[in-house]
């Protein structure tokens, strides 16, 4: 049986959240653990780099107010906790009774596996005249329990798992984890290793963006451009094969730097191959920009309000004019490179897609700049993992901001919590889909860059 919190307790918790919200704090992530019959929830909030937390202990099988009413970006994280721990979150909004409303609307089920879905996710819609009136999303088809599996593991083993968390953002997650480990153990990474990491990180962004674009072309039914993007992906694979056997760039990162040195000549070759993409990317971008059918069709779907975009991350936020620079958060030497974050005026499918092109071009420019000023020297300065501690690291990933909380005890992972960009953006998907035509759904989902494998872990 469920035990509910008293009215007073609930109000006090909501009051605390509102207090932080009014000071412009954002919900970074929610940590949860279960001990002695109690579920311990820790709401970690952030504002300009300052971290605050709200702790709540509730008995197992109780209900607690939903954080969504104050921080809507927490919906997916909360859903994940409700799936894992014996606790239920209640909000004032009533759940949709799909069975009851089936008479008035057409019940549409889509997923969890379909060639136009990048990852498994199951949708149920109530549609009228092909326009979605209500939507319900079911996730969890991707869950592997990576966070739990990492606990008690040695760093290299945990790194192996984290690099395989997602094919497009695995490198960034692995890198963020290592940066946290190095911070706790006071390891100073040599300059060259930092630059190499930067180049590899940007390459992983480029790869992710190219895959996103190939997906968009598929949704638009543009075979010719799909072929062009595939050519670019082959180019990327050719460049990546000069560095590693694996196009995901797994296995290069090690604590203290990178596993092996990459010669400057090789890097120049890599750069030469990658820069070939610039022309093709620009020409596709310009063509789309001047094709009325594409601009009209895409501009009308997936519109995100600026107030909502403010709490989102990545292209969803940047296309609404919020110049969120996630690279600034990084401890990699991004500050020495010159770049301008691409932004747009209104967040819709079209502007987000245009930003995919811009972001790819930006990554190419950053790779070129970093290779030009690549320092010489060692690439590894590993000095042992003896310290104990916990830290929160915020790093860029291809689709937005990645936050990771790592606890390490003498080379053993004691605690890890990952929150990728999709955990934030996914929370708004249900609302975004309302009013969209069924046909446009793949396009809307593709333009949001959801990386569910890193979200569900």
């Amino acid at each position: 049986m469920l035990r509910a919190w008293s009215e007073k307790q609930s109000r006090s918790l909501i009051g605390k959240w509102f207090g932080y919200k009014s000071q412009d704090y954002r919900l970074l992530f929610i940590k949860a653990s279960c001990e002695d019959g109690f579920v311990k929830l820790k709401y970690i909030l952030e504002k300009n780099g300052y971290i605050e937390s709200v702790d709540v202990d509730i008995p197992e099988n109780s209900t607690i107010p939903s954080v969504v009413q104050v921080f809507p970006e927490g919906a997916q994280m909360q859903r994940e906790i409700a799936d894992t721990y014996p606790v239920r979150f209640v909000s004032k909004e009533e759940e949709t009774d799909f069975e009851k409303e089936q008479n008035d609307f057409l019940l549409v089920e889509w997923g969890p596996f379909h060639p136009l879905l990048q990852e498994p996710v199951f949708f149920r819609f109530l549609a009228k005249d092909d326009v979605i009136k209500k939507a319900y999303t079911e996730t969890g088809y991707n869950h592997r329990g990576v966070e739990v599996l990492c606990i008690g593991e040695k760093i290299p083993h945990a790194l192996d798992m984290l690099e395989r968390i997602s094919s497009v953002n695995g490198f960034s997650v692995g890198l963020a984890f290592l940066l946290a480990v190095e911070k706790i153990n006071h390891i100073i990474v040599p300059d060259k290793a930092n630059y190499l990491r930067l180049v590899l990180n940007e390459m992983s962004f480029l790869r992710a963006n190219l895959y996103s674009l190939s997906h968009i072309t598929k949704c638009l039914g543009l075979l010719s451009d799909n072929s062009a993007i595939f050519k670019l992906i082959s180019l990327f694979n050719e460049a990546a094969s000069l560095i590693s056997d694996d196009s995901q760039l797994k296995g290069i990162l090690v604590p203290g730097g990178v596993k092996y040195d990459i010669e400057n000549e090789t890097l120049l070759q890599v750069n030469a191959i990658l820069q070939d993409m610039v022309h093709e990317l620009t020409s596709i971008r310009n063509r789309w920009n001047s094709t009325r059918f594409i601009t009209e069709r895409m501009s009308n779907i997936g519109k995100i309000d600026k107030s909502v975009a403010r709490v989102m991350t990545g292209r969803a936020a940047r296309s609404a004019g919020i110049a969120e620079d996630t690279r600034k958060l990084s401890s990699l030497p991004y500050h020495v490179l010159s770049y301008k974050i691409p932004v747009a005026d209104e967040s819709n499918c079209f502007t987000r897609t245009m930003l995919m092109f811009d972001d790819s071009l930006l990554s190419l420019s950053l790779i070129e700049q970093a290779i030009e000023i690549m320092p010489r020297g060692d690439v590894n300065a590993f000095s042992g993992l003896k310290h104990k501690g916990e830290t929160i690291i915020r790093e860029p990933e291809a689709f937005g901001e990645l936050a990771i909380c790592v606890g390490v005890d003498e080379g053993i992972v004691s605690n890890i919590k990952i929150r990728n960009s999709s955990s934030l953006n996914f929370s708004f998907l249900d609302n975004l889909m309302i009013g969209t035509d069924l046909n446009e759904l793949p396009l809307l989902i593709a333009s949001l860059d959801l990386d569910l494998s890193a979200m569900e872990k």
Binding site: W110, P115, L116, D130, L220, I229, T291
Partner: protein
Amino acid sequence: MLGKIIWFFAVILSVPVLYIAYNFIKSMMPGQSKTYILQPVYRLLKLFEKKDENAGFLAYFFSIGSCLFSLIALYMTVAGFNFLFVISVLSMMDLLVITGAFSSGDFSGKVSAKRGISRFIIWLFTSIVSAASIYQVAGTLKLNEISRLSESNGLIVNLPFTFVSLFIILLMKGNLMHFNFGISGNEQSLLGDALNSPYSGWSLAVIQLAQWTETGVWLKILSNFIPVAKPVSYGVVLFVFLAFLLLDGYISTVEWKKAARLSWGWAGGLAIINFIYLFYY
């Protein structure tokens, strides 16, 4: 009689050949699946081999029914029957396919049945208006007469828009360009071959045959308007259709309601313009 039989089989065979050519050219594009030259035929033969235990009686009923009607329509076309007879048999075929999709009971069946009806109304309207225009010019609706008259008198001079609107019906049937209703043909659509959703195994193969035959019927009807010898005119229409199939890869799909609007405008609109022009000027 022999001529008609030869034409009948020639049209049936020409459409797979068309798709073979299309597949072959498409497989040369990077990023697309590599296919054998005879891929569409292999697919058909494979489908006849498959056993589907879940398929009910209705799936076979609708598929065989629609295939039968399409074959009748084809025979009527090559034998030079009345244009309106052909249209009515094709309507029966389309209605069977739509009912089959709706009878599946799942969402994609229902949604595609709705789109199918919308497409059905547009092409039926266009055909009827076109028939009136053709009658006004040729004084007959018999296809063999029309063919003879186009060769000798160049009917197309008076029926340019009617010809275009009939060609657009062909594009609608093939789900091409901006006249794509998002049903069948495209394996990667959200509805995923929705029109065929109750069908699998050999009932799917029969439906596939029916659709090929239907395409053949329209190609043959259109070829009657080209003012050259019959085989040449059929070849010309085949070639133009292949060009549009390939061009489709360069043009983004549109939302189906917009496709319906565009189809009304281009197919229905042009047919009416031609009709008004013929009657009042």
